[in-house]
Amino acid sequence: MEPLIRIESKTVVMPQDDIDTDQIIPARFLTTTTKTGLGEKLFNDWRYNEDGSPKADFVLNTDAVTGAAVMVGGRNFGCGSSREHAPWALVDFGIRAVISTEIADIFRSNSLKNGLVPVLVDSETHQWLLDNPGAEVSIDLESRTLGLPDGSKIAFPIDGFSRYCLMNGLDQLGFLLESEETIKAFEEARA
């Protein structure tokens, strides 16, 4: 994975609360056995008509999304199924961070392992972002802050270990593999 330290981008806004992973990537596309190419199916049923033509008024089909690597979602983004295909699809589409007041547990955990930064903000900041689609923001992992166009910096929480892995492009599996001796000792002690 490429190290990820700072994202500077305009935002694209998906204001609905409780956007579930079935919307992000419908189950019928989960028959894939690879991780690639899912961006095309991102928000498929909100994005395309039955004949496959794009729905002109859906935000991901408009200029609003061009060059946007930051998605602002409604509360409880990514709820529902554990499918990692959801962050895969977002990243494949070009999204590198999701901002909300609340991000569902499994989706957040999956995102952190795929170079997609979950950014939790307070309701006031969130509302401003919802009201100002296309705002130029920065997400800085070094300082753990979200930068707004007025120059203000909002701190966001992120697990220290996940942050370290993201900033250094490290796969978390490596750390577990290095702990083999400890794991073995644990197994032997229980046996």
Binding site: C79, G80, S81, P87, D105, S179
Partner: protein, 467 residues
Amino acid sequence: MTAKSLFDKVWDSHVVSPESDDRPAILYIDLHLIHEVTSPQAFDVLREKGLPVRRPDLSLATLDHSIPTVPIASLKDLEIVSEPAAAKQVIQMEKNCAEFGIELRNFASAERGIVHVIAPELGATQPGKTIVCGDSHTSTHGAFGALAFGIGTTEVGHVLATQCLLQRKPRSLAINLTGALKAGVTAKDVILKIIGEIGVDGGTGHVIEYAGSAISPLSMEERMTICNMSIEAGARAGMIAPDDVTYEYMAGRSMAPQGEAFDSAVRAWRKLPSDEGARFDRSVTIDVDDLKPMITFGTNPGMVVAIDQALPKSGDAAFDKALGYMQLEAGKPVLGQAVDVVFIGSCTNGRLSDLEAAASVLKGRKVADNVRLLVVPGSAPVKKAAEEKGIDKIVQAAGGEWREPGCSMCIAMNGDKVAPGKLAVSTSNRNFEGRQGTGARTILASPLTAAAAAVTGRVSDPRELMN
């Protein structure tokens, strides 16, 4: 000594290395459940890195999500009934399990079925275990006093390679259920009520422990229905303390300890329930005395009303959007709404007692004209047991379809789906837009309520059809 909760006890006994500010805990996993949809990319990682599966003996694999439920003679016929990608995924699962030495409850196995149905059935699900699966409904196994939660595919790879996960300890939420359930009101109605009360994000970041006078009389299958939908309240896991009901269910199951070893296991399990005075980060009390059969009306499982209740008056934009999708009217009851499809099955309500409940309503009645009824046993053993009780005959005589085990119409990625715009009453767990098929509209309900909808052709109160 500090009083510990059930969750604390299971967590603490699986910490390989404790968490610190810059490191999550390494948590040992006792049982890894694997299915064909969320594992292929994880097996690929092992291949790329040249790693073996560390503990194939602690892995339990089956085919459930993309396997068709129409009867076929063998996997060779898969391409006749399945989409090519779904067929390929099933074949890939067979290959991955063979290559990495994991026993697969495969198509020919008499023990195959939905992973959350077969693990308890086999006795693999046990009190005090840590259990994970690349599936959010892994919370089901918490009914036994296990700590069981869903993980993503990267973490499936972590468990395959190391039998461990990197985890931060979640917070705890006690849900105390007081009162007693009336006839016709089921575990499904209880969990729908809970989700309606605390919201679809009410449990986010928490492990729930369900307790109280309404929990202890429940059977293991009913407890599984409740824990199953913990994720629908956003919770990491749901747990119920093990008791004699648990041990009776487990005795004699093939993967449970046997004889002397079982007695000694029970003695250890008896120490698991939360200590008096155990601390929870939050607690909620819900009384079920006046609970009625519950149904969902919107596009998430928290949008729920009692069967005879009028829908709330118009709320915010999201509420209106959901009702627009469902083609239901604010302020009006759902009762009496014409139904197109009834689905009885899934990891929530696809067990023998669920099929028995449905059959009690279907018996001697006919499925209404223009309604399609699909009854899908959760596993091959459930199917066999139901057939021994004549449930297949009851379903078929009523005009319903009796299928092979699998996730079926709950996830609509295996050929079973609801057509666009059609209204389904389902015993499954998610009423998200398109969950049961593009444009499909879903009302979640208990097996009794679903069966009542099948025979009346309308959303109906099952209590009116019960003897």
